[in-house]
């Protein structure tokens, strides 16, 4: 099992002060798999995703992506990786946020190009081509030069997805990416995710869209009281 897992979470513990949020969470995701996490508010879904790309440190257990320990040099010594090492490791996962979090001073295209240029070190021309390719994929090739403030919520979120997948991550983390959207904009975003699923993108998805969870994901994990059940 572990040999084929792309993302392997073992006995993960995480608390904020007195508040134990994750208790011995185990989760394995194989390459190409789409796993949806559902659960009541406050059950730790966001926290779990944020541990996977080390936006939050965790207190115990282990997270491995492609056999590499996340955040720490190894699960035994739990020595925190250096900042450059952490940055390189985070580039292996893509994250799409509930509140989009597009950089307000950059156009749609520049939002996508930033990581390609500065993290992937692509030359300007190539970064631009990749950005344009992904903008076209999410149906926004005509909005390349628009600032986030000039885009609708659904369009912003599609740029958010394009920004994450353009980096060619091993795992894509989606945290309630349609919760901030008007109902009529939800499908244009979910359609993009469905297409990525069909193409074999490995994804860990937190959502309240039960219909989407049922038809687009391979597995649904229910989280309650800080631990997961299938």
């Amino acid at each position: 099992m572990s040999a084929t897992s792309l993302l392997q979470i073992d006995k993960l513990n995480k608390s904020f002060g007195e508040n134990q949020v994750l208790t011995s969470v185990d989760l394995n995701v194989v390459a190409g798999e789409v796993v949806t996490i559902i659960g009541p508010s406050g059950s730790g879904k966001t926290t779990l995703l944020r541990c996977v790309n080390f936006l939050e440190t965790y207190d115990g257990g282990s997270i491995q992506i492609d056999g590499r320990e996340v955040g720490f040099t190894d699960s035994v010594s739990r020595k925190r990786r250096g900042e450059a090492d952490l940055a390189g490791m985070r580039a292996e996962t893509g994250m799409v946020f509930q509140s989009f979090n597009l950089f307000p001073h950059l156009t749609a295209e520049q939002n996508i190009m930033l990581g390609l240029r500065r993290v992937r070190k692509k030359p300007h021309k190539e970064a631009r081509e990749i950005a344009q390719h992904w903008l076209a994929r999410v149906g926004l090739d005509h909005k390349a030069d628009s600032l986030p403030s000039e885009l609708s919520g659904g369009q912003q979120q599609r740029v958010g997805i394009a920004r994450a997948v353009a980096m060619d991550p091993k795992v894509l983390l989606l945290d309630e990416i349609t919760s901030a959207l008007d109902p009529e904009l939800v499908n244009e975003v979910l359609d993009v995710v469905r297409q990525l699923a069909v193409e074999g993108m490995t994804m860990l998805v937190v959502t309240h869209e039960i219909a989407f969870a049922r038809d687009a994901s391979h597995r649904i994990v229910f989280m309650a009281d800080g631990s997961g059940r299938e």
Partner: protein, 221 residues
């Protein structure tokens, strides 16, 4: 018979005012540039510093903010050369003083701007694999600049007006030029009326320019 207004002698000596205004602008510009550099470096240091760094920066800010600018100008121009036996010209002394003064105010402006950058944007930068320096340069500073522009504009106008204090150490800026003309012609009403207009108009032009910039760079959140 009341006071008869006459501007002829003001216009005859107008070069003192125009030249003074140029020097005022120059003093303000250089001090703002140096002050902004001090403010930016200390603000960036502050948000990442430990207890000691923060205490030092706060001490500097609190000291400058609680000493009247006039007194600071005297301290640096008369006090410092006497105490440590160095010599510098009045304009240099004033620029040094106003830069330190501007720096203290701008640390606060930049610091609150850095704090006001939405956490989600920093998370997005982290998540895509930017290093801490890259996040600062490509995400935090550009966003901060847009957030702080209105406060910056106000500080810049204040600093321009504060250059009039340089007159007390005989730096021939605008207010000094006005005093000089007054001493020579005793046209006290006319000279200070004209000088006031020059300050107001210049201040307004600066503000107008900065407001244009603000509109161009407005933060959309």
């Amino acid at each position: 018979m009341g006071y008869q207004l006459s501007f002829t002698q003001i216009w005859a000596n107008f070069d003192k005012l125009s030249g003074g205004l140029l020097l005022s602008l120059e003093l303000a510009l250089i001090s703002i540039a140096i002050g902004a550099l001090i403010g930016l470096v200390l603000a960036i240091w502050y948000v990442s510093a430990g207890r000691i760094g923060r205490t030092l920066i706060s001490a500097y800010v609190e000291f400058i903010r609680n000493v009247p600018l006039l007194l600071l100008v005297y301290l640096v121009f008369y006090g410092l050369p006497t105490a440590v036996n160095i010599a510098y010209s009045a304009p240099v002394s004033f620029v040094a003083t106003l830069s330190l003064y501007a720096g203290a105010y701008l640390v606060e402006v930049f610091r609150s701007g850095l704090d006001a950058v939405p956490k989600g944007l920093m998370d997005a930068g982290k998540a895509m694999g930017l290093t801490p320096w890259q996040r600062l340069i490509y995400v935090r500073l550009p966003t901060m600049t847009r957030i702080t522009l209105p406060a910056l504009s106000n500080t810049f106008i204040s600093l321009f007006k504060d250059t009039s204090i340089a007159s007390v150490i005989a730096v021939p800026e605008l207010t000094y030029g006005a005093q000089w003309i007054n001493n020579k012609t005793f046209r006290i009403v006319e000279v200070y009326a004209v000088t006031t207009v020059l300050y107001v108009v210049t201040g307004y032009v600066i503000l107008f320019g900065l407001r244009l910039l603000e509109r161009r760079f407005r933060v959309e959140r």
